[in-house]
Amino acid sequence: MINENNYETYFMSYIDNELNAAERAAVEAFVLTEPKYAAALALFEKTKLHASSNEFMEMEDKIFLYRFTEMDAKLDGDFKKSLYRKQAPVRKIIFTPNLMRASFAIAAMLILFIGLQLFKTESSISESNIVESNIVETPLKDKTTVASTNILIPAENQTLANSAIATKAITKNQTILASTNNTSNSINTNIVSSSSSQASRENDSQNIVVAKFSEGQISSTAMETMATEEEKTILPTNYKEIDTEEEDRTINIGILEIDAAAFRGITRKFSALLKRNKIEK
């Protein structure tokens, strides 16, 4: 029964839609008895929130709430095991005393070798700057001499003119033909002219008289003539000797030139020592 003491409870249940049909009818009837109760019910009605369309709020990034069974998929245990990889064991080189001694010995040999090579290289560079026409006299059976000379090729030319002349000189320097005639005992000589020098600017050309004599066919008087007529002026020029005898097999490490064959030998020895060390283990 609704009365003065409990009407507020009924009114709040009424606006909360928690009363059954009979109770709702009783509340509506009670409100009609007094105007103040109608005002009270109206006031309680005002305390109720009404969600309008404007108040509709959507959650952002709702897509991340969706779920699918595939998200919980897990790899088969055996397959997962097959994916594991073991790190390759790191080979450790244990330096035994013997191995250390061998390593030091090889290192010392290498340093010596490199030092020697360097020394050789320096000396060969200093020698090549000097041009000489070496006239070597070698005694033969019948006192004939063989005059030979080293045909030197001009070194790098600073000017195009010099290089052109050098090219001409190379072409002109041909093998010296010496033919002797048994009957006439004459010597045919070819005068070969070589090119101008580079270092000595005062000499533009140099004539080298070359004669090659065969054994036992030339008279000594002719030879003497040759010797007196021969001009032995040696003019310093800058030529670079080209070693055309054998193939250059040097390893260039920076400014160092190391003989390839010797270097290979040393590395073979070192690897053999390492293998021996492993076998001993």
Binding site: E18, L43, T47, N54, M59, F64, R67
Partner: protein
């Protein structure tokens, strides 16, 4: 948090499709409910995310029909935990931000009501929101908030009385 027996069933578990339908139907409601109390969008998103995550994990145990209650329950408790952690007592926070955004051209009465709701504690505010916005019964609210039906009735009535007195006072002042 105890999961009510009514949530648990022995029937077929929720499928992916049913779960995603729950997302479509209830995510906005849970979001609104939590946002109105916590006032923090980031926290609210986290709470909603967690609630749905828990539903997914427990989808074999939760009936599809009870999914909404489950979500609100989880979200509400997460919110309370969050508020306790931050030691927030939301008494004076205003609805102004939301009110302006969502109730353009709203009446003076509504403004006064929203202002009055701001003065309620989180429990009372939750009761009002669950009742008026979501339409839950006393019993359902009790399940969500871990209260008995009579407790829900008493707490809710107290909240309404506070609102009524506040409104009366504000109307007198504005008059």
């Amino acid at each position: 948090m105890l999961i009510e027996p009514s949530f648990i069933h022995d029937q077929l578990s929720m499928t992916d499709l049913e779960f995603n339908i729950c997302v479509d139907d209830y995510s906005d409601g849970v979001y609104r409910f939590i946002l109105k109390i916590s006032k923090n969008k980031e926290d609210t998103r986290d709470i909603v995310q967690t609630a749905f995550e828990k539903l997914w994990v427990n989808r074999e145990k939760v009936k599809t029909l009870k999914a909404k209650s489950y979500l609100f329950t989880v979200a509400y408790h997460l919110m309370i935990d969050q508020l306790r952690k931050e030691s927030k007592i939301i008494m004076t926070d205003s609805f102004d931000e939301n009110a302006n955004a969502i109730t353009q051209g709203s009446s003076e009465l509504k403004q006064l009501l929203l202002e009055a709701i701001n003065n309620l504690n989180p429990t009372q505010k939750s009761l009002i929101l669950l009742k008026d916005y979501e339409g839950y019964s006393y019993q359902e609210i009790g399940e969500i908030m871990q209260l008995s039906e009579s407790q829900v009735k008493v707490y809710l009535h107290r909240a309404r009385l506070i609102l009524k007195n506040k409104l009366t006072h504000l109307e007198k002042m504005s008059a």
